[in-house]
Amino acid sequence: MTAIPIGVPRRLVEFTLDGRETRVPEGSTVLDACRAAGTDVPTLCEGDTLRPKNACRVCVVEVEGSRTLQPACSRRAEPGMVVRTDTERTRHSRKVVLELLASSVDLSTTPRVAGWIKEYEAKPDRFGPDAARLNEEPRVDNELYVRDYGKCILCYKCVDACGDQWQNTFAIAVAGRGFDARIAVEHDAPLTDSACVYCGNCVEVCPTGALSFKSEFDMRAAGTWDESKQTETTTVCAYCGVGCNLTLHVQDNEIVKVTSPHDSPVTHGNLCIKGRFGYQHVQNRG
């Protein structure tokens, strides 16, 4: 973050990470420590501005004295802890978790996952052709964004972003339970009948592309979506006085989507409907 809170200096916690003495500020997670030390730990449900729900379990590490593996993203470093991030045990769990995920949902638009599947030698096909999958049809019920829950890994990020951590609109929640659990609005209605205010903050945090801009969804369907041809320009929203930072994603001289930098002290990644979706006027060239 660029906003540096000047608070009471934090004490340092000393612990052992992969055999090396490590010091991190009090309150840091094991994942923070790993990142500071340059150790790569895969993560899916962790997000930079939300409290991790630690639901995906790909980031698990071994903590000495602990019966089970621990999620690096939410386990706080404690003095004297002995942590190992890359053991046969952690690799096994990560491999199986990746297999379970990839065999049940469509991870084709989830960044980095293909690399981890290779790295951990996961074989999602081994559960056989009849393995249950989500296989949901994309829900296209409005012009702004699309919900394709066949790609949803239930990381709860969109729920937290819509609820008490960002937006305070509480338009979406998890409904049902077990394998049948799904993100849904009240009564599982179309989005247009729900409390959604189309801020798109859920789209901002979704790690899998289960929530995406209608523009992106349509371009992918047409085969014209090409991130290598896109440029990103960060500017200031012109609609009102809040002054949110917008990042315009431009392909072939057209804005294709709008995000907001998570390290912006004004928005922390949040926008409203105007800043996020109201860009058409910029490209009405008469």
């Binding site: 379990r57 698990v60 769990s93 978790v97 379970l100 393995a131 929640a173 077990g178 394998f179």
Partner: protein, 607 residues
């Protein structure tokens, strides 16, 4: 928070059901007709949000009265409590006993779990469905253990209305179950709780000594049989003294985790945050377990007294009893006991003139095994989905409503009474050094006298089965419930203690002893266990949400196969099982594979 409610309106009946719980709505902001005053101010806000814990009782009120929860009804309840409808929908769809689609007013829950399956639940269900046929006005739902395993197979009929009516049929025949569903008011009454205690009335019982001896509805009778002497003793000792006795007694939790009770109490008692809460976990949903039900039905005042003592020790002034929704009689008996105790000054402002005040609230679960996990239970009481929280923080630091909380199950709490009346040393003289006191076991399956048995810790598995009259040709015993493990008939000298079972690589779990003779098809049983965990997973974490599905699929593939034909899938089961045990958030996912693994390793299930 900027809440949005749809246009659907509640029916008069739905509105009445909610208003009976919450009182009439005061303004149009809460769903009443608009008045002039409503244009000037809005009530609600924090005061209404603080009642979020009434969401589950509100859903029950609707489900009890109407049989299902409509959009209009849910929206009205949400307005009254300032709960976002999407969240309330997520809560309503979490619980198996609620429906958000129209369904018949009468639902017949037929148990298809382990003891009942062994007793022919499959044929029973088919028979009931054939007899009722379409258009009978009864919805038949096959489901998990109803906690009536000693009378398997079991069925529970619930008819929505004002008041809601219930009837139990166990052991159930097609005729009896259909009769209970079609005329619940005319159904024959349940046998007394003591019928589930073959030892009832015997000399020397400690935990069960009043079951079948006292009238469970009479406070006077309870006092005449030694009731409330333990509480008097507690007041003499003071909170610190009570905790010392409990610590010295060596009591550990009976719910499966076996954590020292005194230590838990001490940690909460000394926590600077206030208020403190006590939660009694009476959500006994482990298949094969019914001891807590029998205690609540047969000796409810004992639990009220024990909760009072525990709350006093940790200085809690509000205690909750969370009883599983499938136990209507236990809920009634406990409500009655709490009301009686309150009316007689044994709960409320100034208990026994000691200046200590406590109130106990009874909350009903709604069909979710996972709510027996302590942090899931907190979420459920608070009006959220019953999803386990990750630990740390532990409940002694941040439990119910984020406050220091002690959670104990029914059996654990009831042990506190003899600890105080006998004194810690005398109590600890029973059992072994590592497992002190008496222990309850729920024996069912292939035995002549199924029921709850009380034995001192250290009795062997064979001795307990002997008492229950084990039938010949025993094939396997499931110890500890679906999350426990199987043992072989040649392991009957296993001592039933925490240390003894641990040494033998198995667990006491919740005290289930489920015996199967060789007529029970093992693969079918294992499939049922896998199905149970798949159905009961909360769905929060990937290893459990998807792992339980993959395990059930593998078991379906190999049902009927053995040897090399099953080897691939067994390897797969092991790999998935290992990751579930290592990487799941809570005990459900971590133990879901135990029983099947033990059947493969100890019983040679697919050899």
């Amino acid at each position: 928070m900027d809440l949005h409610f749809g246009d659907s309106k509640p029916t008069d009946e739905e509105r009445a059901a909610v208003d009976a719980l919450l009182g009439p709505a005061e303004s149009s902001w809460e769903g009443a007709d608009r008045s002039d005053a409503d244009l000037r101010w809005a009530r609600g806000g924090r005061a209404a949000r603080d009642r979020r814990d009434l969401l589950l009782p509100g859903l029950h009120a609707l489900n009890d009265r109407v049989g299902w929860i409509s959009e209009g009804a849910l929206d009205y309840l949400c307005r009254r409590l300032t709960v976002p409808p999407a969240e309330a929908y997520g809560v309503a769809t979490f619980y198996a006993m609620f429906s958000v689609r129209p369904r018949p007013a009468t639902v017949l829950h037929v148990c298809t779990d382990l003891a009942c399956t062994a007793a022919g639940a499959g044929e029973l269900c088919a028979g009931i469905e054939a007899r009722l046929g379409p258009g009978s006005g009864v919805g038949v739902e096959r489901g998990p253990c109803l906690g009536l395993c000693e009378r398997a197979p079991a069925a529970l009929a619930i008819r929505a209305g004002d008041p809601v009516r219930t009837a139990v049929s166990a052991p159930a025949t097609v005729e009896a179950a259909v009769a209970a569903a079609t005329a619940p008011d005319a159904a024959p009454g349940e046998p007394p709780a003591a019928a589930a205690v073959p030892q009832a009335g015997q000399e020397g019982l400690v935990l069960l000594r009043r079951v079948g001896v006292v009238d469970p509805a009479s406070l006077d009778d309870y006092r005449a049989h030694g009731g409330y002497t333990a509480l008097r003793r507690a007041f003499e000792l003071g909170p610190a003294g009570v905790i010392r006795e409990v610590t010295d007694s060596g009591l550990v939790g009976r719910g499966g985790a076996a954590f020292p009770t005194g230590r838990k109490w001490q940690a909460t008692a000394s926590h600077p945050d206030r208020p403190h809460y006590l939660v009694c976990n009476a959500d006994e949903s482990e298949p094969g377990t019914f001891k807590d039900r029998v205690l609540m039905e047969g000796d409810p005042f004992a639990l009220v007294e024990a909760i009072t003592i525990a709350s006093y020790a940790i200085s809690a002034q509000r205690a909750f009893v969370y009883i599983r929704g499938e136990y209507p009689r236990a809920v009634d008996r406990m409500r009655h006991a709490v009301d009686q105790a309150r009316a007689r000054g044994l709960l409320g402002g100034d208990i026994l003139g000691q200046g200590y005040s406590l109130d106990i609230e009874i909350r009903r679960g709604a069909g979710a095994y996972i709510c027996g996990e302590e942090t899931a239970l907190f979420n459920s009481i608070e009006g959220y989905r019953g999803e386990p929280r990750s630990k740390p923080p532990f409940p002694v630091d941040q439990g119910l409503f984020g406050r220091p909380t002690v959670e104990n199950n029914v059996e654990t709490l009831v042990n506190v009474l003899p600890i105080l009346t006998l004194g810690a040393p005398a109590y600890a003289a029973t059992g072994t050094a590592g497992s002190t006191g008496p222990k309850l076991f729920c024996v069912s399956g292939s035995v002549a006298r199924p029921g709850v048995y009380e034995v001192p810790f250290g009795a062997t598995l064979g001795e307990v089965l002997e008492q229950a009259g084990v039938r010949p040709r025993l094939r396997a015993v499931l110890l500890g419930g679906a999350a426990g493990g199987f043992v072989r008939p040649d392991e009957l000298d296993l001592p039933l203690t925490f240390e003894g079972t641990r040494e033998a690589g198995t667990t006491l779990g919740s005290g289930v002893v489920l015996a199967f003779d060789d007529t029970v098809p093992l693969p079918r049983l294992l499939l049922r266990i896998a199905e149970f965990f798949r159905e009961e997973s909360c769905g929060q974490c990937v290893p459990c949400r998807v792992g339980t599905v993959r395990q059930e699929e593998a078991l379906r593939r190999i049902a009927g196969r053995t040897g090399a034909g099953a080897a691939d899938d067994i390897a797969l089961l092991r790999e998935v099982g290992r990751a579930m045990r290592d990487a799941s958030i809570c005990g459900l996912g971590q133990t879901a594979w135990n029983a099947v693994e033990s059947a493969i390793d100890r019983l040679g299930a697919y050899e």
